[in-house]
């Protein structure tokens, strides 16, 4: 299960994730991101309550990062220690802008 909450403030979009970002839930997040990026220059993922991420979830973050590289910037905020370790192992710590 993954709860996806979006808050738009002008050209800034914050997406708050709560739950598991996995094979089952990643497609829904991807389509919601794709539908929301028009006119956005700052994308923020708040993942303090995201307890789990698999490669399907990493793929969504990577495609979002690629999209935002063309139109602004993206930040991933407040990962748990377990999720941070997955970012480290996969090299995502270097390609994402992560804020504790």
């Amino acid at each position: 299960m993954l709860d996806i909450n979006k808050v738009v403030d002008g050209d800034k979009l914050t997406i708050v994730l709560n739950g598991r970002l996995d094979t089952t839930t990643a497609p829904e997040l991807e389509s919601q991101v794709n539908a929301s990026l028009s006119g956005i220059t700052s994308l923020i993922f708040d993942i303090s309550d995201m307890e789990y991420i698999s490669s399907a979830g990493l793929r969504v973050l990577l495609s979002s990062q690629k999209a935002m590289n063309k139109q602004g910037s993206m930040k991933v905020c407040h990962p748990t220690d377990d999720v941070k370790e997955i970012f480290d192992v996969t090299g995502f710590s270097d390609i994402l802008t992560i804020e504790d």
Partner: protein, 136 residues
């Protein structure tokens, strides 16, 4: 040894994870270890689900075994689909920038990095992938 046989499709991932996690919980497995095992199980099962029988259908068998001294768990995934050794795949270059990174190829790499042992064999018409994880 316990065994679960399900049709290899994404919809059955939760059943597979429940089956594995129940066993881990009985061992008082720390949450951190459970998450890394879950990630590995998801990558392997979804790989079978997407590619082993494509475009047809088939089953996946998951066997769990407790290892003692040091305490750990061994998980074996069997399918009778297309012979495929995921360990033969080259690791992705994790030093590339976002724009140069490929979208795929991360799953089995995560499995290799997070498990204590990963082996593959093709035997009697079956892909057999076994992962082991120590439980601290």
């Amino acid at each position: 040894m316990r065994e679960l046989i399900v049709e290899a499709k994404d919809e059955n991932l939760d059943e597979v994870l429940d089956f594995v996690n129940k066993q881990l919980e009985e061992l008082d497995c720390p949450m951190k270890t459970q998450i890394s095992v879950d990630v590995a199980v998801e990558e392997i099962f979804v790989n079978i689900s997407h590619y082993a029988y494509s475009p047809g259908k088939g089953s996946a068998t998951i066997r769990t075994e407790i290892i003692e001294d040091p305490l750990g768990v061994s998980l074996t995934f069997l399918d009778h689909g297309i012979p495929y050794d995921p360990l033969a795949k080259e690791d992705p270059d994790i030093t590339l920038s976002a724009d140069d990174r490929q979208i795929g190829g991360l799953g089995i790499f995560m499995v290799k990095k997070s498990m204590d042992d990963v082996t593959y064999e093709y035997k009697d018409g079956h892909n057999i992938l076994t992962i082991k994880k120590n439980i601290q």
